[in-house]
Every structure is written in C-alpha cells, then in structure tokens.
C-alpha cells in the first residue's frame, strides 16, 4: 500500500503505534493521518493513470490525421482522462489527502470530529472509483461523452454511461461526507486560543471548500440520477420531443460543476497562503482579507455556472447576469494574488522547492484566471467557445494552479509525515522541467484555440500542425519533470535525510510536534497564544 511502511523506527509515531498490523492497520484505520495518506496514494495513482491518457491524447494530436488511434478511441480517452482527473484526482486531492493530514493538527485537534465517517468517505471514494473502472471494461465500453456527460448524447450513446455515472455518484457522497466532517471539526475541535482570526489560511480555505462540497455536490448526485433515469426509463426530462429541455441538463450539471472548480482551486490557494509567508519569513499580508476572500469566492463562485452555456441558447438576460457575476469572482481572486505579492515584498525569500511551486502558482493561476475572463465575457466567449483555448485556460487554472499547489504541498508537508526529506537539487531540476514543459504544452493550446482549432476532435486542419507538434513535445518535457519529481520525492521519503520538528521555520501548530507526528498528535492539548504567521514566536529552521 505504502512505499515507506515499516521504515520508521521512531516509537510513538503514528507509523507504528497502532493496535492492528499489515494492510488492515491502514484500510481500517480511523487516524486522520493514515486516512490522509490512504487518500494521497490513491489519488496519486489515479493521477498517474490519467496523465498517461493525457500523453496518449497529445501523441494522437502530434500530427494531422490518424496517428495512434481512431476517433472513437480518442473520444473515450479524453472522457476518461477528464473524468478521472476531475472526480478521482483533483476534487478529493486537497480535502481528502492534505486536508486530512494537516487540518486537524493545524487547529490543535487530535483527530477530526467523526473519525469513522472519515474512513467511510475513503471507502466510498474507492468503491466509486472501482465502479468507474468496471464501467470502462464492461457493457458498451468506456463512456465517450466528455467528462460533462451532456445530453442528448449521453442519453443515447451505446457506451457504458450509466455505470460510470453511478460511480461518480458514489464518489460525490464521499466528498459530501468529508465536507460535513471538516465543517464540524473546524467549528468544534479548535484548541484553546485558536480563535477564528488565528486559524491558518489553509484551514480557512478548507472551511469554504467544505461548504461548497456540502451544498453543491447533492445537485450533481441528482443530475447524474436523472441521466440514468433518462437512459433506463426514458422519462424525457431533457428530451424536447417529450416536453423536456436539454439546456436544463446543462444548468443542473454546472450548478455543481462550476463550484466544483472552487473545490479544486480554493484549498490550493490555501496551500499557497501557507507556503509564501513561511518562505518569505514575513507575516502574511492582509490575513483577514485572504480569509474573507475564500468565503467570497465560494459564495460568488456558486452563482456563475451560466457562463458555460453562453452558446447553448440561454436567454440574453441570463448571459448578462452570469457574465457580470463571473467578473465579480475575479475580485476576491485578485485580492489573494495581490496579498501574496505584498507578502513577498521585502521578505527574506528562500527559493526552496515548495516556494518555487508557490511562485509558479501565482503566475500560472493569474494567466488561467485572466483567460477565464475572456471566456466569461459573452462577446469573446462566442469566438473561443469549445476551442483549444478553453482547454489551455482550464489546464492553466487546474494544473498550473491546483496541480502545482499540490506538488508544492507534497514538498512542504510530506516530510512532516515521513520524518524524511527529498534531495533539494533534483527537486529544483524537476520543478524547472515541469514549469517549462507546462507552459510549452498549454500555451500552444491557447494560441491554437485563438486561431480556431476546436477541442474534442482527433484530427485538425494542416495549418494547426506546427503548434500541435510543439505542444506534444512540451507534454514530454512535462512528463519527464513529473517522473523526476515523484522519484526524488518518494526516494527522499523512504531514505532521505531525517528532518526535525520544524524544517521550514513555520509558525503553525504542525511544526511544533515531532516529525512524523505521534498518533494523538499532541502529548497535551496545545494552547495557542499567537497568530499562524507570527514568526517572531516560532522556532528557527
């Protein structure tokens, strides 16, 4: 299950201080750190599978015409790539893995409020994932609808949509359960002195995310059940011939799936808000505004779903309102970016691996966010809708943003839980490869989209060939960087240099306890006397 099981002789750490042994000490553990690591390795495995699919898609697009696969296979691959990345990697990635690992310690708690429910959420996630995998190899084969499952195609295609959608439905419940657990934990289990204005910003971002998980995910569940009803019973909810409305499906789908991108990006912003002050040795600039902007993004971001539908035939008035609200979301996002940059200003910056990922996050997320406004403005959206511009924009936000933040979090927090650290130099080389490869791959896509290359086609006109070749080359650099990063990280966690309690000089609570932490986290309940970024009171690295 885990590459470094049984490698930690340090007695009293959560690695060896359990009543059970072997695999059952993991898959039946209610310890938030073990569940966090279960989530982390499961999520990472699905990520790698989806990365391979993404690389295959890029190889197909390397040259015009059929390169390695036909149109049906291409449709299935981009569907599975998207569905696995979204539902099995990046949505559970932050709350499930790093939320579980870090959040209870950051608020000074021994565990989450409902440890068994926490374990149940991982089981739901794995069962849902198993159902999705079964869907790929049974029935009519893997779904070919795109990860959005748009009707009428999803109601008619002969591929195994019903089973896949049912799997996503189960995974959705795991997300709701985690949300309920985190809201309760953050309300009820904060240590004495851990007031709301001393809460680490990562916890604030998880809190905002948890509310989105609770309030929006049920709508995804309902929508997916309606697809199954449409396919199995032919109820006609989305079929105009029977009095239904296909656009209604898009409303329902995006009511969840737009807020879902905030489930992906908000905790990533929280990670960045943790890393930047620590590696600038300076209190975060505008703590309250960063905390408040997380809530504002979660609230405003839940009301902008219509911007996915500007060309679907919704009313002009709706376009106006959704376009306006989309621009409103840019305000709290910009507040965060400006506050991070202000934190850097005159800080004592050290460019170690987590910080490099955080700095590239600021750049890549800003590009992704601002290209989002091009799509959010109805006039420009009509030109670039459903082109590769959208693909480039989305990957800048979710890979350049959330993905890079996750890599940053892996370098920043995993040493805490393994008690050992990766080698710095390969980490820097891997970062450079990832950064260069990323920009070559996805910037080319945005240019291609501007030139009019549509997305979701396995073939294209000859004039798009040079940039597609460049993009595919970029994806290989990206892949090499990814492999180097993971090999270096995993080797470091297995046999790297041991780290002390506080390798980075952080001021949040997780750096006050041993690495790896004991099972109960704190030997006695901590009393919080200073803010999360008050470095004058924290230990030196």
């Amino acid at each position: 299950m885990n590459p470094s099981d049984n490698l930690h002789p340090a007695s009293g750490s959560f690695w060896n201080d359990t009543g059970k042994s072997g695999i059952s000490s993991w898959i039946f553990s209610t310890d938030h750190k073990r569940i966090g690591l279960l989530y982390f390795w499961s999520v990472l495995s699905f990520f790698l599978v989806a990365v391979v699919l993404g690389l295959l898609l890029r190889i197909e697009l390397m040259a015009p015409g059929r390169t390695i696969m036909g149109p049906e296979t291409y449709n299935a691959l981009f569907t599975v790539h998207g569905a696995v990345m979204v539902f099995l990697f990046i949505i559970p990635g932050f709350p499930g893995a790093f939320g579980n690992l870090v959040m209870p310690i950051q608020i000074g708690a021994r565990d989450v409020s409902f440890p068994r429910l926490n374990l149940f959420s991982w089981w739901l996630y794995m069962i849902g994932a198993a159902v999705i995998i079964i869907a790929l190899f049974t029935g009519g084969g893997p779904p070919d609808t795109g990860w959005t499952f748009y009707v009428p195609f999803s109601a008619r295609t002969g591929t195994n949509v019903s089973v896949a959608v049912f799997g996503v439905f189960i995974v959705g419940f795991s997300s709701i359960v985690t949300g309920v657990n985190f809201v309760t934990t953050i309300h009820r289990l904060r240590a004495p002195g851990m007031s709301w204005d001393r809460l680490p910003l990562f916890v604030w971002s998880l809190y905002a995310t948890a509310w989105v998980q609770i309030l929006a995910t049920p709508i995804l569940g309902i929508t997916l059940v309606l697809i199954i009803a449409e396919r199995v019973l032919g109820v006609g909810l989305f079929d105009p011939m029977k009095g239904g409305d296909p656009v209604m499906y898009q409303h329902l789908f995006w009511i969840y799936s737009h807020p879902a991108v905030y489930i992906m990006i908000l905790p990533a912003m929280g990670v960045i808000s943790e890393i930047i002050p620590v590696f600038s040795r300076k209190p975060v600039f505008g703590y309250k505004m960063i905390a408040f902007s997380s809530i504002a993004i979660a609230a405003a971001g839940s009301l902008v779903w219509g911007h996915h539908m500007f060309t679907s035939g919704i009313s002009d008035r709706a376009i106006l309102i959704f376009s306006f609200l989309t621009f409103v979301v840019a305000i709290p996002s910009a507040i965060k970016v400006f506050n991070w940059v202000s934190t850097l200003y005159r800080g004592s910056i050290s460019l170690e691996a987590p910080m490099l990922y955080a700095l590239s996050f600021i750049l890549l997320f800003s590009i992704g966010g601002l290209t989002g406004l091009i799509l959010g403005a109805a006039a420009t959206d009509i030109h670039v809708h459903d082109t590769h511009f959208v693909v480039g924009h989305f990957h800048y936000v979710i890979f350049g943003g959330s993905g890079f933040a996750l890599f940053g979090a892996m370098h920043y927090w995993l040493p805490k839980f393994y008690g050992r650290k990766y080698a710095e130099k390969p980490a820097l080389i891997a970062w450079a490869l990832l950064f260069v490869g990323f920009n070559i791959t996805y910037f080319s896509m945005m240019v291609l989209g501007m030139k009019g290359m549509p997305r979701r086609y396995y073939d294209y006109l000859p004039e798009f060939a040079p940039l597609n070749l460049v993009s595919t080359m970029g994806s290989w650099i990206l892949a090499v960087g990814l492999v180097l990063m993971l090999v270096n990280l995993i080797r470091g966690l297995r046999s790297g240099e041991p780290v002390g309690n506080n390798p980075w000089g952080g001021a949040t609570l997780e750096w006050t306890i041993p690495s790896p932490p004991p099972t109960e986290n704190f030997s006695e309940e901590p009393v919080v006397t200073h803010g999360p970024y008050d470095f004058s009171k924290a230990g030196k690295p």
Binding site: L215, G306, G313, S315, D316, R317, A318, F322
Partner: protein, 94 residues
C-alpha cells in the same frame, strides 16, 4: 437538543396534515389545466413548497427542533432557492 424534546404529535393532527397534503396534490394536478402562462410553474412550485414545508415541519419534527438545526435547514433551502431562482433568469426570458 434533539434528545431533550421528544415531542409526540397526535393522530388527529397527523391525519389532518395528511388530508391537507392530499388536497394540495389534487391542486397540483388541477393547476396544470388552468391557462396561467409562465405563472403556471410559479403556482405549481408554490404548492410544492407548501407541501414540503408541511412534511418537514410536522412529519420530520422540524417545528419542534432547536434553533441550530433550523438554521442549517434554512441555509440549505435558501441555497436551493437561489440555484432555482438563477436558473429562471434563463428560463423566463428565453
């Protein structure tokens, strides 16, 4: 909160609510036969709201619950109302 208030509702009251729900169901069917234009859906949804309100308040005991639970339910309902309301920016003006 929940443990403290084991409120028992009489059969008479429960039956009355049940009867009212049946009447409202009949009203839902009847309203489809009236020519109300776009207001038909407002009418149908209003009746549905009253019905679910009765079920939540009486059958699900929300009327006798503590404030926290009521606030939580209220937040969820307001969210749902906003989602449905915003969808009508599209549906009503197409």
């Amino acid at each position: 909160m929940t443990e403290a208030s084991h409120h028992i509702i009489s059969y008479r009251k429960l039956s009355a609510v049940w009867g009212l729900l049946l009447l409202l169901t009949a009203a839902t069917v009847l309203i489809t036969r009236l020519d109300l234009g776009p207001y038909k859906i407002v009418g149908a949804l209003s009746i549905a709201c009253i019905k679910s309100g009765l079920v939540i308040a009486i059958f699900m005991h929300m009327k006798y619950e503590g404030r926290l639970l009521r606030i939580l339910l209220f937040v969820a309902l307001v969210t749902l109302a906003i989602f449905i309301g915003f969808t009508f920016f599209d549906v009503l003006y197409r």
